[in-house]
């Protein structure tokens, strides 16, 4: 008889080993599928790597995708640590971008550092506002934050769509439904060819690492995540910590939206995120809520996305291939989690003595 028992302590080496094993198995499984479709898997994998790292331009494109993904993951991660299931990063991203655009259109002429600072502030406020709605509904009515944040994603995206097709439509665009470009002042400067967001991202990841490792606040979040009752008992001001954390979470996602609007699109559109907010939920989880790992996982994911785009142009393979690949890899990692958290114990079926009660076994 086989029994499944929860592992009491997770050794880091075993965890890492299982994950690498899972990814390898996923790549092998995907390769079999590709072979069935008469595609050469080695060539496809090679092209994905070449397409994401093969030249300075491609590398920059990969980093450009990793920046919002990492910041979104940081934002989602802080809420997840508290077991506040914020899957509304997509919506907070859009609202942040909206906030940034408000500032960019209101003060197009003021000096660049001032305007950029205003945009960041505004994006943070709007993102935080958007995440406070589900937090408020949770505290007040105990409404499930997973569902409310999910619904608000679409409301936010439709709001941007409304602006794009309605009041903010650029009359100079020959009837094309788009929002006007920002002025040069509202665009983030570049450092080493990539917008300055990458520096912010690395700093933020490090700050969050410190918060969770060294500060009282980070500890309170973790305690609250483990048990609300314990948090109460320990004298933690639960609603306060919850609100501050959720605000930080939404604010960061909003900031990611600001960077994307300012540096990548130089404008606002309903296509701004391209589902990044959802992908970030996955990267957050894959990184096990560890801020430093988020940087790595987000970068690997960006390689897949960028490599997928490259496949389309280089080999005429639909870029959907990268989504399929993403799916297969994460399915395997999700499955492998089980083998990390539980172990199998083989026990000989005990000879049951008839008078022994069930509970005594």
């Amino acid at each position: 008889m086989i029994r499944i028992v929860a592992t009491t302590e997770l050794s880091r080496r075993k965890t890492t080993f299982m994950r690498i094993l899972a990814v390898t198995a996923a790549l092998a499984a995907a390769a079999v599928i590709m072979l069935c479709m008469k595609l050469n898997p080695l060539k496809i994998y090679g092209q994905i790597i070449a397409g994401s790292l093969g030249s300075a331009y491609r590398f920059r494109e990969t980093v450009n995708k990793a920046i919002p993904l990492t910041v979104l993951s940081l934002g989602i991660g802080i809420a997840f640590r508290m077991k506040f299931w914020n899957i509304g990063a997509e919506g907070q991203f859009f609202m942040g971008a909206f906030g940034a655009s408000l500032a960019a259109f209101a003060f197009p002429g003021i000096p660049r550092p001032v305007l950029l600072f205003l945009m960041i502030l505004s994006s943070f406020v709007f993102g935080a506002f958007w995440s406070l709605i589900p937090a408020g509904l949770k505290i007040k009515f105990n409404a499930s934050e997973t569902l409310v944040t999910l619904m608000l994603n679409y409301v936010a995206q439709l709001w941007i769509g409304y602006l794009q097709y309605g009041p903010w439509r650029d009359p100079a665009a020959n009837g094309f439904p788009k929002i006007a470009h920002f002025t040069q002042n509202a665009i983030l400067p570049k450092v080493f060819g990539i917008h300055i967001g990458w520096i912010f991202t690395l700093i933020l990841a490090f700050i969050f690492y410190i918060i969770f490792k060294r500060t009282k606040f980070g500890y309170e979040i973790d305690v609250l995540g483990e048990s609300e009752a314990t948090a109460h008992y320990a004298g933690i001001n639960v609603p306060n910590v919850l609100l501050v954390t959720v605000m930080l979470s939404g604010g960061l996602c909003g900031f990611a939206g600001m960077m994307q609007a300012s540096a990548i699109e130089n404008s606002l559109s309903e296509q701004l995120s391209g589902g990044l907010g959802f992908t970030a939920v996955i990267t957050t989880w894959l990184a096990q809520l560890n801020p430093l790992l988020m940087v790595l996982v987000s970068f690997l994911f960006s390689m897949l996305i960028q490599g997928g785009n490259f496949l389309q142009s280089a080999m005429q393979i639909p870029s959907s291939m990268s989504q399929i690949l993403e799916g297969i890899i994460i399915f395997f990692v999700l499955g492998s989690e089980f083998f990390i958290r539980y172990r199998f114990v083989f026990v000989k079926k005990p000879k049951r003595s008839p008078d022994l009660p069930e509970a005594a076994k």
């Binding site: 299931w85 509904l137 499930s144 409304y162 990268s322 399915f331």
Partner: protein, 319 residues
């Protein structure tokens, strides 16, 4: 009289525009009643829509096409079930990944199938059919009794599921699994089996819902054919408070809203061109769902609540 005809036609379109939502929502309800939140509905719909379309022009048989779509959706659900039930993985993440995966599959298949057309046999099989006598009722006749077989069956499924949940032993067991799997297990219900069967059933219905779009409603292959319908379904599972009968009403209300949005684009009232933004109208289902969610948690009426154990993996050894 003229208004009655127009209203009938409007409602007819509303029903047509809500049918895929109804199928997917019914599927979502089954899955959530088993205690699993599946955010992969959109993905399963896309898989169903693309595979169903492919099977449609390949086999030229309407039944095979729908079955293929349903089974493809169920295959997606099987991945989800293995990970969340057997391996106890995170349901939210698994569902999101399933949606990405399904979008990828549909995008990939879409490159091949978009150059094909559906044969006449399929189009005829799913054409609107008037039910004798009933279809002559003013307004309601054209709205509900002059429809494709697909529409009739979707309503039938919702009604059957309602009866199943409410009046059968299996339905009762299923609800027990969703509310308190440990108690269900102790009373001898095979929790794993119940979860698997209903998650797969949910996938089948989502797949069939997707295929309604590609085989009947459009009926052509379009990139991103579901246009977020799977997320509306996730919302409507809650909006209908896990009740398939209310899902019928919700889906058709959604269809009517879509129709209204279309009509509102160039509405002239008193010589004023009234343009209500479709974007703002599209927000309504999501906002309404949030309101319903708040209301049901406030009122605490027992039968309207979400399944107690929704989202938690069940592990006998950790009881």
């Amino acid at each position: 009289m003229n208004y009655a005809i127009q209203l009938g036609l409007f409602l007819q379109t509303a029903v047509q525009m809500g049918t895929h939502i109804l199928l997917a929502t019914s599927g979502g309800i089954m899955c959530e009643k088993a205690g699993n939140t599946n955010l992969g509905i959109e993905g399963m719909m896309l898989i169903g829509a693309s595979v169903g379309y492919w099977a449609g022009y390949t086999f030229c048989d309407p039944v095979i096409a729908v079955l293929a779509a349903g089974l493809a959706g169920a295959a997606g659900a099987l991945i989800y079930a293995v990970i969340t039930v057997t391996f106890r993985g995170n349901q939210v993440v698994t569902g999101l990944v399933l949606t990405i995966f399904g979008t990828g599959i549909a995008g990939f298949l879409g490159k091949t199938i978009s150059s094909h057309f559906l044969p006449a046999t399929i189009q005829n099989a799913f054409a609107a059919r008037a039910i004798p006598v009933l279809s002559r009722i003013p307004v309601l006749g054209s709205a509900f009794f002059t429809q494709s077989v697909y529409v009739y069956i979707s309503v039938l499924i919702a009604v059957v599921l309602y009866l199943y949940l409410k009046y059968t032993r299996w339905g009762l067991n299923l609800r027990a699994v969703g509310e308190n799997p440990a108690a269900a297990d102790a009373s001898g219900i095979n929790v794993t089996l119940y979860k698997y069967v209903h998650i797969l059933l949910g996938g089948f219905l989502a797949g069939a819902g997707g295929a309604y779009l590609s085989l009947v409603f459009v009926p052509r292959w379009q990139e991103n054919i579901t246009a977020g319908a799977g997320w509306i379904a996730v919302a409507f599972v809650i909006f209908s408070t896990w009740n398939p009968l209310q899902a019928i009403a919700a889906s058709y209300a959604f269809g009517a809203l879509k129709g209204l949005a279309f009509k509102c684009q160039n509405l002239v009232i008193f010589n004023h061109k009234l343009a209500i933004s479709t974007h703002l109208l599209d927000m309504i289902p999501y906002l309404a769902t949030i309101i319903v969610l708040v209301c049901i948690t406030m009122r605490k009426k027992k039968e309207n609540q979400s399944p107690e154990a929704l989202g938690n993996p069940y592990f006998r050894e950790e009881r």
